[in-house]
């Protein structure tokens, strides 16, 4: 069974690109341009991994990650997926499981995902 990845990003182009790449590498991806209902999304799709942009409506990635991390039932790894130059520190700050920096090289993108979900 394919691994299931949720991608949150406000840019549809990024979402489309990522979906294309992930399917090429045999992952199943659901994409969201808003992060308002992430808990419901997670319950619905039961993902193996979440990629979260920071600049995303409505409350932004940082707070969303915090909400997810507060829910003790959710064990899904969640990675920051951002162009922010300070991404490493932000990852620590919001207690995210890792990060993928934009722009990315595909091999690094895939290697990073494989690192979390095999």
């Amino acid at each position: 069974m394919k691994k299931h990845i949720l991608i949150y990003d406000d840019d549809p182009e990024i979402l489309f690109l990522c979906t294309a790449i992930l399917s090429k590498y045999n992952y199943e991806a659901q994409t969201f341009s808003r992060c308002d209902n992430i808990i419901a999304d997670i319950e619905k799709h039961k993902p193996d991994l979440i990629l979260m942009d920071l600049w995303i409506p409505d409350i932004g990635g940082e707070k969303t990650i915090a909400i997810v991390k507060e829910d003790k039932n959710i064990k899904t790894p969640i990675l920051i997926f951002s162009a922010n130059a300070d991404i490493k520190n932000l990852t620590k700050k919001v207690n995210a499981d890792g990060y993928i920096e934009k722009p990315f090289a595909i091999n690094i993108f895939i290697e990073t995902i494989q690192k979390y979900i095999g």
């Binding site: 182009e13 990024i14 690109l17 790449i21 162009a83 130059a85 934009k102 722009p103």
Partner: protein, 1302 residues
């Protein structure tokens, strides 16, 4: 105190503390450093001078210095402090020492400190100085001691204690009153005789006695005429004797006077004394008269009875003697006794054993003593006494004798009365009887005595011839009971009884009976019988001897009669002594009373039994009194001389009385004192009178002696010194030996000083001479010294008005004059001070303010010459100063005595030919004479025009600065060298909405945003301490509560020496700039983010494309690859831009770790080397130490530098990178051989966005690389710089600190 290392000088080295006796020593020894005065070396000159003067002064002086009134005083003052205040008073405050009177003297002290001297004569202060409060009197003055600047520094107290004088005055008055009272009370007559006029005056009582008119002055002959004729010449002689100088002038005589009117005879005791002048002639003779009639009569009667008593004793018929005292001095012996002892009357008064030394071994002396001491009567019967006669032969005489105590009228045993009869013949007769009855019988008949024997019954069986012849009987008629017929009928029964008793008891008997002799006369016959015991022990009857004792009996009778007479006399005695007011008594040698007359008993309030036999103490004598008498009695025993004295003790009824007493020795026959006879007379009234007279004279004399001013009395034209008190001796520097010498003799140095002439004139004319402040040179200890005296020569006149001498009183005013000289000197000092003062000084004299003295500076100040102003009233000499208010100030100082001072007072004065406004600081100080009166004003002035003008200029400048500052929109502020802000321009108040007061109170920090405050204060303190420019951005709260960013800068203002004078700061509102910056950064941040999103997409698709193409078309793949590379660079640029904006916001984050710097270096070089084919990067040196920092950022710096080196050296093929370790740091330099930079650019290349414009067309990039690098290095506490030469290349350096492991 920078320059003065404290100098240690011990007190004794100060010259002004020399001398001064005890107090001088104490002052020198005192540790003054703990007192408000401090070490003497620091004392003001005026205090030093005053202390020095004080120490040398014999009068009491005392200084209370300063506000604490710290005390220093001299030896003369010491007694005033009593036992409890001295020496603690030295160096402490008057308030403490005199706390019990401080409320009295405080205001005076304070007055003196304000320049008001004060003084009082005989001022009473209740001092506690000997553990009790006593009223003390003082002549004192408190005067101010002025310091060099004229201020009062302390109080000088000069004082003479007059307590004793006051007491003496009071006592003298009292004593005069008492004298008068005593004379009245004693009922004395007083008389005062003038030898020159031969007249005398007396009180009314005396005149009454003499029968003279009360108001009469009496001629001496008239008084003599009233005296009893028998006494007249004696009195006259006594008077003449007393009037002779050699006699000492004493007069003491008793005589009778017969009242001219009443013919009443009166016995008086006159006592007096003559007074002699220098010529040894009596000028006065006065005294008292006491009526002693009663005493004299009593005394005479006693003398008469005594005389009679002795007469009878000495004419008794039997050997009788009286031995007196324990040595048995032969006091009385009659003729028979002297004959018996073979001595003459010279034996009288000799002790018994001296007359008859042979008696000692025979035990008689012991017996006599037994009688004397033990009050016994001892009788001797036929006692053999061996006399050694003058020719050496021994003679034994047998006596019957009686030793009985001899009592005085008071009952005391003072000797032994001895009555003896020679019974030698009887004894011898008896002896013969005892030898042999047979021989007896034959012998008996030859005996001179009557002899009988009786049988064992009571019958007489033998009588001798003498008896028979005596009674005229024949042998036979005399036997049996024949004796009865010749015996006096009254004695028969006595005889029978005695004889029968003797026979029946076989014992001796003795009886005296009267028997009839042949002439028909009854004769006294002494019969003695003894039992006759035969050799076999049988009682044979009695044997008896009789002798005719008629003669002896007669003597006995005479003695009896005489004793009766004696007793009668004693009763008379008793009667006399009982009625005399004198106290009569006898003391034995143990000081026990053996007799006391009724007057004495009355005085004691005791009965005879209570008093007699008791000693002095037991009779209520006080111990001292008893001891005194015991001492006297011992003396009398030794000297055998009477002692007379006076003593005062309490009488049982009359209270304290004074008594005249005489103790006379009672000598025994051996001339030793066996008792003391005393008579005591109450002379209270007389004595009191005499004492008072003496006392008042002594007191007067003592007063004169101790008077604090010199007094001398010179007699005769020769001016013989009769009297000189201590004070005048001190003044002369002489001792007591001047008395009796002439004035010229002792003070020859006065010869040329007019004094002798003055004395002579006074003596001649009788006109007193007074002078003041006379300078007198006296030779003291061989050295001529100068003194000043106020003195008077007052003539002394006798009662006739003749001048006989001169009294000299004087006051030593030397000190006063020296003080005046000192004042004069201090005035000179003042003058010299004024003239040499570095500031303008002058002295205005008097109420017109005449310029008396002025220095050049003052002339300069006035703009005048000395000629213009000297010796003129100031406003006359300097009219330009008129009407500028100075008249009133001067007048005020002159009248109130209050110093006036003012600073920066404007005054117009002549300057440079015109009138100019000048500013002066000046002081007007009242100048006081020694008496405290203001005599002028001392003026000190400083022209402060220049300073004031300069100050004004500064003020003006300041004003201008403020005006300017306040008109500026920026915040401007200043701070002092300590960083305290002291000025804010108007803009600050406008912006903050705070008032100057609010900022002053709560500080400027309240304006600063709370988040910025800590950093702000830290930065400000750092700048102030380091003296470096202050540069800080912070938010200030505006009046409406909005915080706006400000850029504050402050730079220190330095003087010529580079010392910081103040800080001037500005705060510029950069809120708009900040906002724009923020907006720009936000924009960049968003832009970079937004750019990265399409970049990401583009890059992703390109990579997907590459993946697809890799297997098909190599050329298209290359194109895609290039596009991807371009996107990478674009991404790098966007990232840099973002970093730059983050630096600006302080948001750039660092990941700090310790890493191998050299390895990082090699890795980076390798990476960069891959990017170029043209350049070879050559590394030299190695970093051995690891570095702590952000490895990626430092790598970024190296990449930047190496990239730039390659980028800006397109025509070179080498880049050198050099690494070297320096102490504590690693230095890295990157050298290229490219285009280089000019100096003007070098300063700016580390600025953000700076790029060397002229090369813009050649080189790409936003130019933020060096800015970022520089920032990163700074964040690592390193430095970065560059060397460059245009066309030759550039070298960029940075250093990174190595932190040692420790």
């Amino acid at each position: 105190m920078k320059n003065s290392a404290p100098q240690v000088v011990s007190s004794h080295e100060y010259p002004f503390l020399q001398g001064g006796g005890e107090m001088g020593a104490l002052i020198r020894a005192k540790d003054w450093s703990n007192t408000p005065l401090g070490e003497p070396g620091t004392w003001p000159q005026s205090l030093c001078t005053m202390v020095s003067v004080m120490l040398d002064n014999p009068f009491g002086m005392y200084i209370a210095w300063g506000k604490e009134y710290t005390q220093i005083y001299n030896d003369g003052y010491r007694p005033i402090l009593g036992t409890t205040k001295h020496p603690y008073a030295l160096g402490i405050s008057t308030r403490e020492t005199f706390k019990e009177i401080w409320h009295i003297i405080e205001s005076m002290f304070d007055g003196v400190m304000n320049g008001k001297p004060v003084g009082f004569p005989d001022f009473m202060l209740p001092l506690n100085r000997n553990n009790f409060v006593e009223d003390c009197y003082f002549d004192f003055s408190y005067s101010p001691i002025r310091k060099e600047n004229g201020e009062v520094g302390g109080v000088l107290v000069t004082v003479i204690e007059t307590t004793n004088k006051k007491r003496a005055e009071a006592d003298l008055k009292e004593s005069k009153d008492q004298l008068q009272f005593a004379i009245e009370a004693a009922e004395l007559g007083t008389w005062d005789y003038n030898p020159l006029t031969n007249k005398f005056i007396g009180n009314n009582r005396l005149k009454d006695w003499f029968g003279l008119q009360h108001d009469a002055e009496i001629e001496l002959p008239l008084a003599l005429a009233v005296m009893a004729e028998k006494d007249r010449s004696r009195v006259e002689q006594a008077i003449q004797r007393a009037l002779k100088y050699e006699s000492g002038g004493l007069y003491n005589i008793e005589y009778s006077i017969i009242n001219a009117l009443t013919r009443q005879e009166r016995i008086v005791s006159a006592k007096g004394r003559a007074w002699f002048g220098e010529d040894k002639k009596a000028y006065r003779f006065n005294g008292t008269l006491e009526d002693i009639t009663d005493q004299a009569i009593a005394r005479k009667k006693i003398e008469e009875s005594e005389h009679r008593f002795r007469f009878i004793l000495e004419h008794s018929l039997d050997p009788i003697l009286i031995l007196k005292g324990e040595n048995m001095v032969l006091e009385i012996a009659n003729e028979p006794l002297l004959k018996l002892w073979s001595v003459d009357k010279n034996a009288l008064g000799k002790p018994f054993l001296e007359i008859l030394p042979e008696m000692k071994e025979q035990g008689f002396f012991d017996m006599l003593q037994d009688v004397y001491f033990n009050d016994k009567i001892i009788k001797g019967n036929e006692t053999p006494v061996t006399f050694i006669r003058p020719d050496g032969t021994k003679e034994i005489i047998y006596f019957n004798f009686t030793y009985q105590p001899y009592r005085e009228e008071n009952g005391k045993i003072t000797g032994v009365l001895v009555i003896a009869s020679n019974v030698t013949w009887q004894v011898e007769a008896k002896k013969q009887v005892e030898e042999s009855e047979e021989r007896f019988r034959s012998l008996a008949n030859d005996m001179a005595a009557f002899v009988f024997t009786g049988d064992a019954e009571t019958n007489v069986d033998f009588v001798n011839r003498q008896w028979l012849e005596f009674v005229g009987l024949k042998t036979e008629e005399g036997l049996g009971k024949a004796w009865v017929t010749v015996t006096h009928p009254d004695d028969v029964e006595h005889m029978s009884g005695t004889y029968e008793d003797a026979v029946s008891n076989q014992k001796p008997y003795e009886i005296e009976i009267r028997q009839l002799n042949t002439n028909g006369e009854y004769c006294w016959v002494l019969w003695k019988g003894i039992p006759r015991i035969t050799k076999d022990g049988r009682f044979a009857g009695m044997i008896g001897v009789g002798i005719d004792i008629t003669y002896r009996k007669k003597i006995e009778q005479a003695l009896y009669d005489q004793q009766a007479e004696t007793e009668k006399l004693q009763r008379l005695y008793e009667a006399v002594t009982a009625n005399t007011p004198d106290l009569i008594y006898i003391l034995d040698l143990d000081c026990r009373f053996t007799y006391a007359n009724p007057a004495l008993l009355a005085m004691w309030g005791k009965s005879w039994d209570e008093a007699i036999g008791k000693n002095l103490l037991e009779n209520g004598y006080e111990p001292w009194h008893a001891a005194m008498h015991e001492r006297e009695i011992c003396e009398i025993v030794l000297t055998k001389k009477s002692i007379r004295g006076t003593v005062s003790f309490p009488h049982a009824e009359l209270g304290k009385r004074i008594y005249d007493y005489i103790f006379a020795p009672v000598l025994n026959s051996e001339g030793n004192v066996e008792a003391i006879a005393g008579t005591t007379r109450d002379i209270t009234d007389i004595t009191t009178a005499e004492e008072d007279l003496l006392k008042s004279e002594q007191q007067m004399r003592a007063m004169v002696e101790t008077a604090p001013f010199p007094i001398g009395v010179y007699i005769g034209r020769e001016m013989i010194i009769q009297f000189a008190n201590q004070s005048i001796l001190n003044a002369w520097g002489k001792g007591n030996d001047v008395i009796g010498k002439s004035f010229k003799q002792i003070l020859p140095e006065l010869d040329n000083q007019d004094v002798f002439k003055q004395l002579d004139d006074v003596y001649t004319t009788g006109v007193p001479y007074h002078t003041k402040n006379q300078k007198i040179d006296l030779v003291i200890d061989g050295e001529t010294k100068c003194f000043y005296f106020n003195y008077s020569f007052t003539p002394l006149t006798d009662s006739t008005g003749k001048v006989y001498g001169v009294m000299n009183t004087a006051a030593d005013v030397t000190d006063l004059n020296l003080a005046k000289l000192a004042i004069q000197k201090s005035e000179e000092n003042l003058r010299s001070t004024i003239l040499q003062a570095p500031v303008a000084m002058c002295f205005f004299k008097g109420e017109n303010f005449i310029v008396d003295l002025s220095n050049e500076k003052m002339f300069e100040l006035w703009g005048k010459t000395a000629n213009d102003v000297m010796h003129k009233p100031i406003f006359e000499g300097l009219p330009e100063a008129k009407d500028q208010g100075f008249e009133a100030i001067l007048q005020g100082v002159y009248t109130t005595g209050t110093t006036f001072s003012a600073d920066g007072v404007p005054i117009t004065l002549p300057r440079n030919g015109g009138i100019e406004l000048v500013y002066v600081n000046f002081v007007y100080e009242p100048y006081r004479e020694a008496n405290g009166i203001i005599s002028g004003i001392l003026a000190v002035a400083i022209d402060v025009t220049t300073q004031l003008t300069a100050r004004k200029k500064i003020e003006e400048r300041e004003q201008k600065f403020r005006l300017l500052a306040d008109s500026m929109p920026q915040h401007i502020w200043t701070a002092d060298t300590n960083g305290n802000l002291n000025y804010y321009n108007q803009s600050v108040y406008d912006y903050s909405g705070l008032t100057p007061q609010q900022i002053d109170t709560d500080g400027w920090i309240q304006i600063v945003h709370p988040d910025d405050r800590e950093e702000n204060i830290k930065a400000w303190i750092h700048s102030v301490n380091a003296g470096t420019d202050f540069h800080f951005e912070h938010r200030f709260r505006r009046y409406d509560g909005e915080y706006r960013w400000q850029l504050s800068r402050a730079v220190p203002q330095r003087d010529e020496e580079g010392n910081i004078q103040m800080w001037v700061g500005t705060s510029t509102d950069i809120q708009e700039i900040k906002q724009m910056d923020q907006q720009k950064d936000d924009f960049i941040s968003i832009a970079s983010h937004e750019m990265k999103t399409p970049l990401t997409t583009a890059k992703g698709y390109l990579e997907l494309l590459q993946m697809q193409l890799s297997e098909e078309n190599q050329t298209i793949l290359l194109y895609a690859s290039k596009a991807n590379q371009a996107l990478e660079r674009l991404n790098g640029l966007v990232t840099e831009l973002l970093d730059a904006s983050k630096i600006q916001n302080g948001q750039l984050n660092y990941n700090i770790s310790t890493f191998d710097f050299n390895a990082m270096l090699d890795e980076t070089i390798e990476n960069i080397q891959h990017t170029t084919k043209i350049h070879t990067i050559q590394k030299t040196g190695t970093a051995f130490h690891p570095v702590t920092g952000d490895k990626n950022r430092l790598q970024q710096v190296l990449i930047n530098l190496l990239s730039n080196a390659i980028k800006y050296s397109p025509n070179a093929d080498k880049v050198f990178i050099k690494v070297e370790e320096q102490p504590g740091k690693i230095q890295v330099s990157v050298q290229d051989f490219g285009i280089g930079l000019s100096g003007q650019h070098l300063d700016k290349i580390f600025n953000r966005y700076y790029r060397v414009q002229e090369h813009a067309i050649y080189f790409q990039g936003l130019g933020i690389g060096l800015y970022l690098s520089s920032n990163i290095i700074q964040r690592h506490d390193g430095t970065m710089w560059a060397d460059s030469e245009p066309g030759k290349g550039s070298t960029f350096y940075f250093t990174i600190p190595i932190y040692s492991e420790q």
